[in-house]
């Protein structure tokens, strides 16, 4: 092999470090971190309570091409945690705020909060697990499904979603 002067078990040298620098520069340009990401993470950390159960993003239909989603300005996101699945649909209001309709599975009555940078909005799900926030300021927000203390043996922890941009 021609490049046998640089065997796999040889020590890293200047040429290796230069190649790694090039790889780093190339990916920094081609796939940079989204600009607002550290701020969104800090927002989520500020809101985080160590006792909470954290839900993971399972599906976000804004990942689909617009042609598949159709022209309507709605977006559906699903979160999953150990005890609960949360699905929300987000639609734009004319005044720049958004409407959020949600469903919990398994369906049950829970107190629900929408935490935004400026305020925390309150709602509650009905026995079908449905809830709605008619007017939420756009920007970073986080959904919290409060613990179901009224149900002995039920999930004792609140469930929080990652911060998302509405």
């Amino acid at each position: 092999m021609k490049s046998s002067d640089a065997p796999a078990d040889g020590p890293l040298d200047g040429a290796d470090l230069a190649i790694l620098d090039d790889v780093r520069a190339a990916f920094s340009r081609a796939d940079p971190m989204p600009a607002g990401l550290p701020e969104r993470i800090k927002f989520a950390l500020l809101m985080h309570n160590l006792e909470d159960e954290v839900a993971r993003l399972i599906e976000d239909d804004s990942l689909q091409p617009a042609a598949v989603r159709g022209e309507e300005q709605s977006r559906t996101i699903t979160f999953d945690s150990a005890s609960l699945t949360i699905m929300i649909r987000i639609e734009s209001n004319a005044n720049g705020t958004v409407r959020v309709d949600g469903w919990l599975a398994p369906p049950e009555r829970r107190d629900i909060e929408m935490r935004t940078a400026s305020e925390t909005l309150q709602a509650a799900s009905d026995e079908q697990g449905r809830f709605a926030f008619a007017s939420v300021p756009s920007g970073a927000a986080q959904l919290v499904v409060r613990s179901a203390q009224h149900r002995p043996g039920g999930p004792g922890r609140s469930v929080v979603t990652p911060a998302l941009i509405l």
Partner: protein, 201 residues
């Protein structure tokens, strides 16, 4: 506190290591600002770790939130600042693969997603030369195995002082004295040498 440079995740700056260590100490004592500074400093690196596994942009964002949230409950366990970056890199990688496994969408496992990365827009003459070099690098990089592509992309963003600890965590071979080049980097170097010889095999 001094102003944070716009995160050049570049080679070993000893003062950077010391700076992160003092941020970690302050964060453990409850400083939200210090924790925020660590997030600002290290998220660009973790972004590359998550994306190297093939996650979509929203998935990668979600994984990183999960990782930083988990750090909150591990702050006291990370006594040594030198353990912070290896812990973050390994946790991000594990969460990313978990997310990939959970996602219904199947990404090509042959690394062809790599070809879809945009090239930088051409600019000055100097930029064009750089663009040629970058194309050669892309071409060589794309011939590596998916595992090598992932490992090299991660390692390229790890600060030099943490290279050895991270490489060991990722299961990359290591010599008795210092980190070795490793199979993946040796292969990339050979591919680049071949392409600059102008011998298309």
């Amino acid at each position: 506190m001094t102003e944070l440079s716009p995160v050049s995740v570049s080679s070993g700056q000893p003062d950077r290591t010391a700076r992160i260590a003092s941020m970690l100490t302050a964060a453990r004592e409850g400083s939200e600002d210090a924790l925020g500074d660590i997030v600002t400093e290290l998220t660009p690196m973790l972004w590359q770790v998550a994306r190297a596994t093939g996650l979509s942009t929203p998935e990668a964002e979600d994984v990183l939130q999960t990782v930083w949230t988990r750090l909150l409950s591990h702050l006291d366990a990370i006594r040594d600042a030198r353990a912070l970056i290896p812990w973050l890199v390994v946790t991000t990688r594990r969460e990313s693969w978990r997310q990939r496994a959970a996602g219904r969408r199947q990404l090509p496992a042959d690394g062809s997603w790599f070809a879809a990365l945009p090239d930088a827009s051409p600019g000055s003459e100097e930029e064009i030369i750089n663009a040629d070099q970058r194309r050669a690098l892309w071409a060589a990089f794309g011939q590596l195995s998916p595992r090598c592509q992932e490992l090299l992309r991660i390692v390229a963003f790890v600060p030099r002082p943490d290279y050895q600890a991270v490489a060991a965590e990722l299961g990359m071979p290591r010599g008795s004295v210092g980190p070795t080049r490793g199979r993946c980097l040796a292969k990339l170097r050979a591919l680049l040498a071949d392409s600059s010889d102008g011998s298309p095999r």
